[in-house]
Subunit: 63 residues, 2 copies
DNA sequence: TCATAATGTAAAATACACTTTACCATAGTA
DNA sequence: TACTATGGTAAAGTGTATTTTACATTATGA
């Protein structure tokens, strides 16, 4: 799975910490997702799409 | 998270086992998702949307 | 009625998602 | 120089997703 978190974050000038707080997760979770260490759970993926006001498919893609 | 797996499956006349095999997961995984015991991983959610030829948002929803 | 298909469920094991704490590197700024 | 912000990473712990095996229940069909 690929994701566009870093770009979407940059477009909004958000730090990893900003995003983490908006999602109520730790900064390490954001970092791990961005650096491809693991994929978020489905509920977290929904939250991520919501804060970026787009669909899950806009953020994540099947490799 | 809610999901429409059971309905989508019924529309196609697929058993839980049919779907499990199409996704290369166990039948128990399909059953557990349908009965709300847990949510699929994000990669599996993508696979599910793909076999039903729709988006993740068409299959799953928050709440 | 009997046999079988489909579904629900449970326990133990493994893999993965996520947290907390903590440290290191880099870049920018006082 | 020293300080601060940002990002990368690591270890240990907790919780969840998924597998395998196995058994029970319900529906269906011969």
């Amino acid at each position: 799975m690929k994701n566009r978190l870093k770009v979407l974050r940059a477009e909004r000038n958000w730090t990893q910490n900003d995003l983490a707080q908006a999602l109520s997760v730790s900064r390490q979770t954001i970092n791990a997702i961005e650096t491809g260490k693991f994929d978020p759970s489905l509920p977290l993926a929904f939250k991520i799409a919501k804060v970026f006001q787009c669909t899950i498919e806009d953020v994540f893609s099947d490799d």
